[in-house]
C-alpha cells in the first residue's frame, strides 16, 4: 500500500524543483508536472480502491503519534475528495500541457503554482491536524493568488489583490479560531478536539464556530464573503479557473464540513449554513443572469453551485451529505469542463463578452459542443450527471421537510437555465460576427474535455458508477466515533 504522504510531499518537492528541471531540459517543465499529477492520481486511486471498509489509512508524520504528531487520514470521505482533486488536477495538466499554444508562456511559474495549489488542497483534505490544515490552506491560497495574477495585467493584479485581501482575512479568522480552540482544549489534533470540544463553554465555542465559518466560508465562496470569486475566476487563465472551481473551492468546503461535522459539535451552525447557502444561491444565480461576460457568468454560476452544496450539507442528514457529495462531484467535473471549454471560446475575444460568441458553434464545433454539454449537465437535464445530483439533492431536501427550499432551488434552476441557454442560443443559432480569429483546441485539450464529457455522460446514464463510493463516504463522515477511534486508538468518545 502506498503512503498518502506522497500526495503532499511529491508535488511540493517537484514544485520547488521545477525551475531546476527547466534548466536541464526545457520540455521537462511540461512533462514533469504531468508525471507528478499522474502519480498522485494513481496512488490516490490505488489507495482509495484498496481501502478496507471503515478503516482509513492513517499516517503519522515523523513518527509522532497523535495527538502530538501531525497525522494524515486517508479515509473513505477524504480519499474520495483527494481522488477527485488529483484526477481533475491531472486533467487540468493534460489540458494545459501544450500551453504555449494556449497562449501563456511562463510555464515554470504556472506549473509551480498549480502544483503548490494541488498539494495544498490535498493537504487540507488529508490532514488530521487543524493547524496543519491552516498551513495547507495558506499554501493553497498563496499559490492561488499567484495564479490569479498570472497574466500580470492590471485587471489580474487587481483581482489578485482582492483575493489576497479577503484571503488574508480568512487566514486571520481561521488562525484566531485555532488559537481559541487551542486555548480551550490544549490540542490541535482534530480527533482530540472532537472529544474535548463538548466541554468547551458554548459561548466561546460559538465564537470559534463563527470564526471558522467565516474563514472557511471565504474559501468555500459563501455569500457575502465571495467578492473575490468573480474577479479571480475571470482573470485567471482558463484551466486555473477550472482548478479553482474543482480544487480550491472543494478544499474550502471540505474544511468546512470536516470542522463542523467532525471536529466541532455545534448544532446551530447548520441552520446558519442553510441560510448562508440559500443566500449564496440566490445572489449568485441572479447576478449570473445579468452578466455579459462568459467567465464572470461561469464564476457566479460556480458560486451558486457551491451554495447548493452548502445547502445539501446543512441538512445534517445522510441523504443530504450524499447529495452534497454528488453535487460536489458534479460541480467539480462539469464546471471544470465548462471552464476548460470557455478557455478556448473566449481565447481570441478581448472583452470575453458573451455576445462575441455568436455563431461559434459552427467554427468551433467541438468546444461549443462541450460547452453545451456542460451547460445541459449543470442545469440538471437528464441524461447527464447533473440531473442525478439534483434529484438526490431534492429528495434529501424533501426528506428534511424543507419544501420551500425545494421551490427556491427549482426557481433558481430556472434562472440557471435562462442564462446558460442564452449562451447556447448564441453559440449555435446566431450568425457569427465578421473577423473573428479563433484558436482551435489542441489535441490534449480535446482529450481532457472528452474525458470529462465521457464521465458526465457515463455517470448520467448510469449513476451507480459512483453512488456506492459516495454512500461509503457519507457513512464515514457520520461515523464520528469511528474516526476518533482510528485516529486515536487510545482514546474513545465518552
Amino acid at each position: 500500500m502506498t503512503d498518502p504522504v506522497y500526495f503532499i510531499a511529491i508535488p511540493l518537492l517537484t514544485a520547488f524543483l521545477l525551475p531546476l528541471f527547466g534548466k536541464i531540459y526545457k520540455p521537462l517543465i511540461g512533462i514533469i508536472p504531468g508525471l507528478v499529477f499522474a502519480f498522485t492520481a494513481y496512488i490516490s486511486f490505488d489507495l482509495y480502491f484498496n481501502l478496507e471498509p471503515g478503516k482509513p489509512v492513517i499516517v503519522q508524520m515523523a513518527g509522532w503519534a497523535p495527538p502530538w504528531g501531525i497525522n494524515l487520514v486517508f479515509g473513505e470521505f477524504s480519499g474520495l475528495i483527494v481522488s477527485l482533486i488529483t484526477f481533475l488536477a491531472f486533467l487540468v495538466w493534460v489540458y494545459s500541457y501544450n500551453f504555449k499554444k494556449v497562449g501563456f508562456d511562463n510555464s515554470k511559474k504556472y506549473f509551480t503554482l498549480l502544483m503548490l495549489m494541488v498539494a495544498g488542497s490535498i493537504g487540507v483534505v488529508l490532514t488530521g491536524d487543524i493547524f496543519n490544515m491552516f498551513v495547507f490552506l495558506e499554501i493553497t491560497a498563496i499559490s492561488s493568488y499567484g495564479l490569479t495574477a498570472f497574466y500580470k495585467g492590471r485587471d489580474s493584479a487587481e483581482a489578485a489583490f482582492k483575493f489576497l485581501l479577503i484571503g488574508s482575512l480568512s487566514s486571520t479568522f481561521i488562525l484566531l479560531a485555532i488559537l481559541l480552540l487551542y486555548k480551550q482544549t490544549g490540542t490541535l489534533n482534530m480527533a482530540e478536539i472532537a472529544i474535548k470540544s463538548q466541554a468547551i463553554d458554548p459561548k466561546i465555542k460559538s465564537i470559534i464556530a463563527i470564526l471558522f465559518f467565516v474563514g472557511f466560508g471565504i474559501e468555500a465562496e459563501m455569500f457575502p464573503l465571495n467578492g473575490w470569486v468573480p474577479d479571480a475566476y475571470s482573470q485567471a487563465p482558463g484551466p486555473v479557473a477550472a482548478s479553482f472551481a474543482s480544487i480550491l473551492a472543494k478544499s474550502g468546503i471540505y474544511a468546512l464540513i470536516r470542522v463542523f461535522y467532525t471536529v466541532l459539535d455545534v448544532e446551530g451552525i447548520f441552520n446558519l449554513l442553510l441560510t448562508a447557502g440559500l443566500l449564496t444561491i440566490i445572489f449568485a444565480e441572479f447576478t449570473a443572469m445579468r452578466q455579459t461576460r462568459l467567465r464572470r457568468m461561469l464564476a457566479y454560476s460556480s458560486i451558486g453551485q457551491m451554495g447548493l452544496i452548502m445547502v445539501a450539507f446543512s441538512f445534517n442528514t445522510k441523504a443530504g451529505v450524499f447529495a452534497g457529495l454528488f453535487l460536489m462531484f458534479n460541480h467539480a467535473v462539469i464546471k471544470t469542463l465548462l471552464f476548460l471549454a470557455s478557455g478556448f471560446l473566449t481565447y481570441s475575444t478581448k472583452q470575453k463578452k458573451i455576445r462575441d460568441l455568436d455563431g461559434f458553434g459552427k467554427i468551433m464545433p467541438f468546444t461549443s459542443l462541450m460547452f453545451g454539454l456542460g451547460a445541459f449537465a449543470i442545469v440538471g437535464l437528464p441524461p447527464f450527471s447533473g440531473f442525478w445530483g439534483k434529484l438526490n439533492m431534492l429528495t434529501a431536501t424533501a426528506d428534511s421537510n424543507l419544501y420551500l427550499v425545494i421551490a427556491l432551488i427549482l426557481v433558481v434552476a430556472v434562472v440557471e437555465i435562462i442564462y446558460y441557454f442564452k449562451v447556447i442560443g448564441r453559440l449555435y443559432f446566431r450568425e457569427r460576427h465578421e473577423d473573428v480569429n479563433i484558436q482551435k483546441p489542441t489535441w490534449n485539450a480535446v482529450l481532457a474535455m472528452s474525458i470529462l464529457a465521457l464521465v458526465i455522460i457515463g455517470v448520467g446514464l448510469y449513476p451507480d458508477f459512483i453512488t456506492d463510493y459516495l454512500a461509503k463516504a457519507t457513512n464515514e463522515l457520520f461515523d464520528k466515533a469511528g474516526y476518533i477511534k482510528h485516529v486515536l486508538p487510545s482514546l474513545s468518545l465518552n
Binding site: 485581501l165 457575502p224 467578492g227 448544532e267 419544501y403 434552476a413 441557454f421 443559432f429
Partner: protein
C-alpha cells in the same frame, strides 16, 4: 433484452446515425432518417410487447418501464404522426443547413415521448420528459436569431413546468418512499390534505403547461410558429399531448378517484377559457403559422376541458380529440410548411391564390380544416359532439357556451387560413410556385384520408381509447363503430349522416356539372366584376389585411389585455431586481472586505440566537 429497451435504443441509435450520417453527407443522413421513419413504427407495431415490464434500480431509486393501454393510445399518436412528419421533413428540410442537428433533436424528442409513455415511475418519466423538452428546445431555436426570445421563453416555461413536476416527485418520494406511479396513486388517499394538493396541483401544473393551458400558454405561439414546420406538426400534434396524457392520469386517477372533482373542474374551466381566448387571438393573426399555433392552443383547451370534466363521455371526447387534433393539426402545419417552402412565406396578407398551384396541399388542408371546425361528416365532428353532449349531460352549461363560442369563432380563423393562403386572386408573383414534393404531400394526404374515414367510422379510434380508458378506471366503455350515444340515450348515426350528405352532394354535383357543361367557362381570378375596371396583373385585389376588423372592434376590450405583457413586465421587474442584487458585487476590494467584517460582526452579535446557548 427487453423489447422496450430495444425500442429506446433503436430510436437513440437512429438519432445518432442521422446525426453522423448528415455530417458525412446528405444522402446518407436522409437514408438513415427514412430508415428511422420506417423501422421505428414497424418495430413498435410488430415487435413491442405491450405486456412487458422492465424494472431496474438506479442510484437507489427503483424504476420500471412498461406500457399500459393508456400510454399505448398516446404512443399510437406518436408512432403514426412522427414517422409521417419525418418523411415530410425529408422534403421540407431538403435545402436546409444543419439538418444533422435537426434530425438528431427530432428523433430524440420522439425518444422522449416514447419513454414518457412507457414510464411507470416518476424518475424515468421525468428523465424522458426533460429529454423531450431539451430536444424540442433545440428545434425551437433551430431557425436562429429571430427566435432567441421565443426559445428562452419556451425553455423557461418548460423548465417551470418540469420543475413543478420535479418538486411534486420529490415530495411524493418523501411521503411514499417510492417513485412508482402506482404506489403514488394507491397512497394518495392516505396523504394529508396539504400533500394531496401540493403534489397533485404541482403535477397538474407541469402537465397543463405542456398542453398550453391559459395563464401559462405564452410559450406556445412563438414556439409552434417558429419551429421548422416539419417538427411543429409533431410538436403540436404529439408533444403537447404528453401534457394531456399526464393530466389524464392526474385528474382521473388522483382527483376524481379521491372525490376531489373540483380540481378537474378548475382545469376544465381553464381549458374553456384557453379555448375562447386563444381562438380570439388566432382570428387576428396575419401569419398562418401563428394562426395555427393559437388554434393549437385553443384545441388543446377543448381536450383539457374534456379531461377535466372527468365523466366517461367527456374523457372519451377529450382523448378522441387528442388523436384527431394530432392528425388535423399535423396536416395543417405540414401544409403551412409546404406553402412556406414553395411560396416563400406564410404571411396571409402576401400569399394568395395558391389553390391551383398546390391542389394537393389545398385538398389536405381543406379536409383538415373541416375536421378542425368540427363540421360533419368528417372526424372532427365526432369529438365535438361528444364533448358538447358530455358537458350538457353534466349540466356545465356555461362551459358549453364558452366551448361553443370558441368553436364558432374557430370558423373565422379556419376560413382565414384557407382563404389567406390558397384562395383569393392568383398573383404573378406566385406564378412559378409548384406543388410540394411527394415526400411532403403524401404524409398530408394519408392523414387527411384518416380524417375522412373517422367521419363515418370513428370506431377505429374508439377501440384504442376504450382500451386506454380501462387504465383510468373506466371499464366497459361502450362504443360503436359509427353510432354516437350520449348519457341520455340520444344518438347520432354517422353512417346516415355521411350517406345523406353524400347522396345529396353527388346528385347535385352531377346536376351542376352536367348542366351547361360546355358553356361553363373558367376565368382567371383577375376577371372579376369590379365595376368594369380591368384589374392589372400586378394589382392584388384580395381582401386580406385586417380581415376581421369589425370583430376586432367588438373584442377590443378583451384583446387589449395581453397576458404576455404581464409576463414581460414581470420579467422586467425581476430583471431590475437582479440588477439591484448585482450591485452588491461592486468590484471593490474594500467593500468585499467590509462585507466579510460585517458578516462576522453580525454573526457574533446574533450568535446567541444562532446557537441558542
Amino acid at each position: 433484452m427487453s423489447s422496450l429497451v430495444i425500442l429506446i435504443l433503436i430510436i437513440a441509435g437512429f438519432a445518432l446515425l442521422s446525426y453522423f450520417g448528415h455530417s458525412i453527407n446528405k444522402t446518407a443522413g436522409n437514408i438513415a432518417v427514412f430508415a428511422a421513419a420506417v423501422l421505428i413504427p414497424l418495430y413498435w407495431f410488430t415487435r413491442v410487447d405491450f405486456s412487458e415490464t422492465v424494472s431496474f434500480t438506479i442510484s437507489g431509486f427503483q424504476m420500471e418501464l412498461g406500457y399500459n393501454m393508456y400510454g399505448k393510445l398516446f404512443s399510437l399518436i406518436v408512432m403514426i404522426l412522427s414517422p409521417l412528419a419525418l418523411i415530410y421533413a425529408l422534403g421540407y428540410m431538403k435545402d436546409s443547413k444543419r439538418t444533422g442537428t435537426f434530425y438528431f433533436s427530432f428523433l430524440f424528442s420522439i425518444l422522449g415521448m416514447t419513454g414518457i409513455l412507457m414510464s411507470r415511475d416518476f424518475i424515468s418519466l421525468f428523465i424522458f420528459w426533460e429529454i423531450m423538452t431539451w430536444s424540442s428546445y433545440l428545434l425551437v431555436i433551430f431557425l436562429g436569431k429571430d427566435v432567441e426570445k421565443t426559445g428562452i421563453r419556451y425553455m423557461v416555461f418548460s423548465a417551470l413546468g418540469a420543475y413543478a413536476m420535479f418538486m411534486a416527485i420529490v415530495i411524493i418520494h418523501r411521503n411514499t418512499g417510492s417513485m412508482m406511479l402506482n404506489d403514488y396513486f394507491n397512497a394518495f388517499g392516505n396523504f394529508s390534505t396539504g400533500t394531496k394538493f401540493l403534489t397533485g396541483i404541482l403535477l397538474m401544473f407541469g402537465f397543463a403547461l405542456k398542453s398550453a393551458v391559459m395563464p401559462v400558454h405564452v410559450w406556445a405561439p412563438g414556439a409552434y410558429s417558429n419551429t421548422p414546420m416539419a417538427y411543429t406538426s409533431v410538436f403540436s400534434g404529439a408533444l403537447s399531448k404528453m401534457g394531456v396524457y399526464g393530466l389524464g392520469f392526474v385528474v382521473i386517477n388522483l382527483f376524481a378517484h379521491a372525490n376531489l372533482h373540483f380540481a378537474g373542474t378548475i382545469l376544465a374551466w381553464l381549458g374553456a377559457v384557453t379555448a375562447v381566448l386563444a381562438t380570439f387571438s388566432a382570428i387576428f393573426q396575419d401569419d398562418a403559422k401563428k394562426l395555427l399555433a393559437y388554434s393549437s392552443i385553443a384545441q388543446l383547451g377543448y381536450i383539457v376541458t374534456g379531461i377535466g370534466i372527468g365523466t366517461e363521455l367527456s374523457i372519451f371526447a377529450g382523448l378522441y380529440l387528442a388523436v384527431l387534433h394530432a392528425a388535423f393539426k399535423g396536416v395543417l402545419f405540414m401544409a403551412a410548411g409546404a406553402v412556406e417552402r414553395q411560396a416563400g412565406s406564410t404571411d396571409m396578407t402576401e400569399v394568395t391564390g395558391l389553390i391551383r398551384k398546390m391542389p394537393l396541399t389545398f385538398f389536405a388542408s381543406l379536409v383538415a380544416i373541416i375536421a378542425l371546425a368540427g363540421v360533419p361528416p368528417l372526424g372532427g365532428f365526432v369529438g365535438k359532439w361528444m364533448l358538447y353532449e358530455s358537458l350538457i349531460n353534466n349540466g356545465n352549461f356555461l362551459m358549453v357556451i364558452m366551448i361553443f363560442l370558441s368553436s364558432t369563432a374557430a370558423f373565422l380563423y379556419s376560413y382565414k387560413f384557407l382563404f389567406g393562403l390558397f384562395l383569393g386572386q392568383e398573383e404573378p408573383e406566385f406564378e412559378n410556385v409548384k406543388e410540394a414534393s411527394p415526400l411532403m404531400t403524401i404524409p398530408m394526404l394519408l392523414l387527411s384520408v384518416f380524417l375522412m374515414i373517422t367521419g363515418s367510422f370513428p370506431g377505429i379510434v374508439f377501440k384504442y381509447i376504450a382500451e386506454g380508458m380501462t387504465d383510468l378506471g373506466f371499464h366497459d366503455v361502450n362504443w360503436q363503430m359509427s353510432v354516437l350515444t350520449n348519457a341520455w340515450g340520444d344518438s347520432v348515426n354517422l353512417q346516415h349522416v355521411t350517406l345523406s350528405i353524400g347522396v345529396v352532394f353527388v346528385v347535385f354535383l352531377i346536376f351542376l356539372t352536367w348542366k351547361g357543361y360546355k358553356k361553363t367557362y373558367y376565368v382567371s381570378t383577375k376577371d372579376i366584376s369590379s365595376s368594369g375596371e380591368v384589374i392589372k396583373p400586378e394589382d392584388n385585389m384580395t381582401y386580406s389585411t385586417d380581415f376581421y376588423k369589425p370583430f376586432e372592434r367588438v373584442l377590443h376590450p378583451i384583446l387589449k389585455r395581453k397576458i404576455e405583457k404581464y409576463y414581460d413586465e414581470f420579467g422586467e421587474g425581476i430583471g431590475a431586481l437582479f440588477d439591484f442584487m448585482r450591485r452588491i458585487y461592486t468590484g471593490n476590494g474594500q467593500t468585499y472586505a467590509f462585507y466579510v467584517i460585517v458578516f462576522l460582526v453580525i454573526l457574533l452579535v446574533f450568535s446567541k440566537n444562532i446557537f441558542g446557548y
